[in-house]
């Protein structure tokens, strides 16, 4: 009984948070990754108000308003210019905002954990039917119920709410009928952020406040919005109760499985009932992912097939061969790691920049490759060829499974489905202690032994590792390059530009998408298999969905319209990161700001602009 009350309390916090996420997704089509950060910001503001004014109740009033206004500012300044583009740009922008908000919190409140002093009225507990029930829990449940009632009233009874519903049903027509859709979008985002702030106030009663504790809330909220259905508060409420109780009761009675069960439920809904229990489908955008290229796009592709680009690729390899001679040891080590992640990013971009599929599931495939080779090397064999082959089989298998189940959905649903798989995979790795070492992961992975006929080479020194990785990555790159320059690659580009039209041409789009997913998966798995023995350790975080965000970032910086772009982006990211970390502790603020700037102003990335420059040079 006490557990049920705990579950209900958790569920109500989740409801308030998810209702906000639902409004933002339903009315603006924005998958707001910064929603968790807004939630924790709400908790910090509550802490600040309670500290300075000595009154939690003022915090309850002020925190949601502050976060709501902050949300309106974010929407107005950053999101509004991006609505006409592919939804990936708004997603990336909210990714960048997380980093910025975390560091703003750090600048204002420092990085130690805070707790809010519970006001006298809410402290203590009472006994009901022999169970001890904390007053704070009752308060949270009450606020949740009032929020549900308030939202019902706003959206069913007021003209403001009805207009918002009309806009979310058909933005274009609402605009043509005289409604200022943009202004109301800001208000809707503000309302969503306000609810995140309110959830933060409730959270401050139960949680230790620190940036990062919001990640779990964010993920559960995504699950709740999808399961309940976009645009339905009734669904959000019911799904919150299911997820809240499953999480708390499951945590008590099925500790190994509770997390995975929620994500299995999420996968089931996304595959079979993408509208959720009571929702409607999100409007699809049908905008290609590569912006602003116009006729230049085809010229780019032609250029990439020329010898010029082959020569530059060979030049890069030559430079990498001699680099260790000129670089300090640390940079040789770092460069090896950069090459591994460059391969990860490049194979991710084969899906994203070349086929138009934004996947958040690549970290799972990377993790599958890394864990398999580690387990093989630790338990089975020191022979790299064998371990690598096994790792390739398993990671390809994971790619096949995720691919088969995800390619039937497109755009935002594909993204959410792959993310659900990533979370499911992560929860399995995290909980399967006996095999994977759980949160601690695996360490002491032995260095691999390469057997060529009768000779054996052990890859031991950093330099040997460097050249070993260089050879494998270079081979992979040239294979990918050949595939992308082939007619098959051209079909993928056609799918990216217009899947419907490609289907009309008689090409089986889903089949091509699936093959692209598997190809990307194979090379992502190779990156994972290279990474683990090189690093010597691997832990669950390597397969966390947020890791899937890194290749997106790197691809965008480097340029998603070229094959080498994400590699350049990876190099740039690492160099920049190590420089910024050396000059400021607020590196997240700087990196987040750079990401936001790139998303808003330079979506073609480094290589995109370089090629445009070369092209204009050639044509003049």
């Amino acid at each position: 009984m006490a557990y049920v009350i705990n579950g209900l309390t958790f569920a109500m916090m989740l409801f308030v948070l998810s209702a906000g996420l639902n409004i933002i997704l339903g009315f603006l089509g924005v998958l707001n990754f910064a929603h968790g950060a807004l939630f924790i910001l709400g908790a910090y503001v509550t802490y600040a108000v309670t500290q300075t004014l000595g009154d939690f109740w003022l915090g309850l009033l002020i925190a949601p308003l502050v976060v709501g206004l902050f949300g309106m500012l974010i929407e107005f300044v950053f999101l509004r210019p991006l609505y006409k583009r592919h939804h990936v740009y708004t997603i990336l922008l909210t990714f960048g905002l997380i980093l910025v908000i975390y560091d703003i919190i750090k600048i204002i409140w420092g990085s130690d954990v805070k707790t809010v002093v519970t006001p006298p009225l809410l402290s203590g507990s009472f006994t009901l039917f022999g169970e001890i029930i904390p007053v704070a829990s009752v308060f949270i449940i009450l606020v949740g119920v009032l929020t549900a009632g308030g939202l019902w009233f706003i959206f069913k009874k007021t003209t403001f709410g009805k207009i918002l519903t009309a806009i979310s049903l058909d933005r274009e027509i609402a605009n043509a009928l005289g409604f200022n859709v943009a202004r109301r979008g800001t208000l809707a985002f503000g309302l969503g952020a306000l609810l995140a702030g309110l959830a933060g106030v409730l959270g401050s009663l139960k949680l230790s406040i620190a940036a990062g504790v919001d990640a779990e809330f964010l993920i559960y909220s995504f699950a709740i919005v999808v399961i309940g259905g976009v645009g339905s508060f009734r669904g959000t409420l019911l799904a919150s109760l299911i997820v809240g109780e499953m999480s708390v009761l499951g945590g008590v009675f099925l500790p190994e499985l509770s997390m995975s069960l929620i994500f299995v439920l999420l996968v089931v809904f996304l595959t079979l009932y993408p509208r959720g229990m009571f929702g409607r489908e999100i409007e699809q955008m049908h905008v290609p992912v590569v912006p602003y290229l116009g006729n230049v796009a085809t010229a780019f592709q032609r250029l990439s097939a020329t010898q010029l680009s082959l020569l530059s690729s060979l030049l890069v390899v030559a430079l990498l061969v001699v680099a260790p001679l000129a670089l300090p040891k640390y940079w040789t080590y770092l460069l090896a790691e950069i090459m591994v992640f460059a391969l990860f990013a490049i194979s991710f971009n084969v899906l994203f920049g070349f086929t138009g599929m934004l996947s958040f599931g690549q970290a799972s495939i990377f993790g599958a490759g890394a864990y398999t080779i580690s387990l093989m090397l630790i338990h089975v064999t020191g022979n790299w060829w064998l371990a690598f082959a096994a790792s390739l089989v398993i990671s390809t298998g994971v790619a096949v499974i995720i691919g088969l189940m995800s390619i039937h959905r497109s755009e935002i649903y594909f993204g959410m489905l792959t993310m659900a798989f990533a979370m499911l995979f992560y929860s399995i790795i995290y909980k399967w202690n006996s095999l994977t070492g759980g949160a601690d992961g695996l360490s002491g992975i032995p260095s691999p032994v390469l057997k060529f006929g009768f000779t054996e080479v052990e890859i031991l020194t950093p330099l040997a590792n460097y050249y070993f990785i260089l050879v494998v990555v270079a081979i992979c790159y040239f294979i990918l390059r050949t595939i992308m320059n082939s007619p098959f690659g051209q079909v993928l580009l056609a799918i990216r530009e217009n899947p419907t039209r490609t289907e009309f041409l008689g090409l089986p789009v889903k089949k091509y998408k699936f093959i692209a997913f598997v190809i990307a998966g194979v090379f992502t798995g190779v990156a994972g298999a290279l990474f683990a023995p090189f690093a010597g350790t691997i832990d669950a975080l390597a397969s966390h969905w947020s890791k899937s965000g890194e290749p997106i970032f790197m691809s965008l910086i480097g340029g998603i319209s070229t094959l080498i772009g994400p590699g350049v982006g990876t190099l740039f990211y690492y160099v920049l990161h190590s420089y910024i970390v050396s000059i400021t502790e607020y590196w997240q603020l700087v990196m987040g700001s750079i990401l936001i700037t790139v998303v808003m102003l330079f979506p073609m990335g480094i290589t995109g602009y370089a090629k445009k420059f070369i092209l204009s040079f050639k044509s003049s």
């Binding site: 003209t159 009805k162 207009i163 519903t165 009309a166 049903l169 058909d170 274009e172 027509i173 609402a174 605009n175 043509a176 009928l177 005289g178 409604f179 200022n180 859709v181 943009a182 645009g231 409607r280 116009g294 006729n295």
Partner: protein, 234 residues
């Protein structure tokens, strides 16, 4: 005086060039037809006027004022009422809510269209007022979309294929509605059904492949057998 003057507009969907220098005049109090096949550029012309597909070249003047480049909602507030094709009623809202929310666009309730007047004229909608948009038939949805736009009391109404895919009985009903509206409102009516428009319009433009290829009074258009064959497939 011309209520609406479209001069030489060129409009694009992304890279595709759709309208090639379309010009037309809609005189006050008239019903003007814009007639052409599927894909001829009728919808794009109406969407260019309301600002959903802003033309890249050319000008659009409404009541002597250049409205080219204004956001759609501003154009609508000035009194240009747009009725989209494919109905697009707000499916989750009731019939009554579909009409009532429009009071926000015209908060002073100026003009003669009100929920009461619409329900008087079309008792069917009054009966259905608590039904959600998604539960209506195609013809009922079409009535709601027209009535919804009338609620802003437009001085010019852009009607995009109001009879598409509807049964003859309902087509007659829609016609009755248009006859009522024309008493007080200027109308630009896009249609591919020549027979439907001929006894409604004062003047007509035939559009084909993004260009105006013919214009004239209803009688003139009807007499041109060659054009009917070539552009309308009648």
């Amino acid at each position: 005086m011309n209520e609406l003057e479209v001069r030489d507009i060129n409009s694009y969907y992304g890279k595709s060039h759709i309208l090639f220098g379309v010009s037309l005049d809609v005189a006050q109090g008239q019903v003007v037809g814009l007639i052409g096949r599927n894909g001829a550029g009728k919808s794009t012309t109406l969407k260019s006027i309301i600002g959903l597909v802003p033309p890249r070249q050319g000008s659009i003047t409404y009541q002597g004022r250049n409205i080219c480049g204004l956001p759609s909602h501003r154009i609508a507030k000035l009194g240009v009422g747009f009725v989209p094709e494919d109905r697009r009623v707000f499916s989750d809202l009731t019939v009554l809510d579909n009409l009532e929310i429009m009071k926000q666009v015209n908060p002073r309730g100026e003009g003669q269209w009100s929920v009461e007047r619409i329900f008087d004229l079309f008792p069917k909608l009054a009966q259905l007022k608590d039904n959600r948009g998604m539960d209506l038939s195609g013809g009922e949805q079409q009535m709601v979309t027209i009535a919804r736009t009338l609620m802003i009391n437009p001085s010019v109404l852009l009607l995009d294929e109001p009879t598409e895919g509807l049964a003859p009985l309902i087509v007659r009903e829609i016609k009755r509605l248009i006859q009522e509206v024309r008493k007080t409102t200027t109308i630009l009516l896009a249609e591919q059904n020549l027979r439907f428009v001929l006894d409604l319009i004062d003047y007509g433009y035939v559009i084909d492949q993004g260009k105006v290829v013919l214009q004239g009074t209803a009688a003139e258009l009807d007499a041109d057998e060659h054009a009917k064959q070539k552009y309308l497939g009648v």
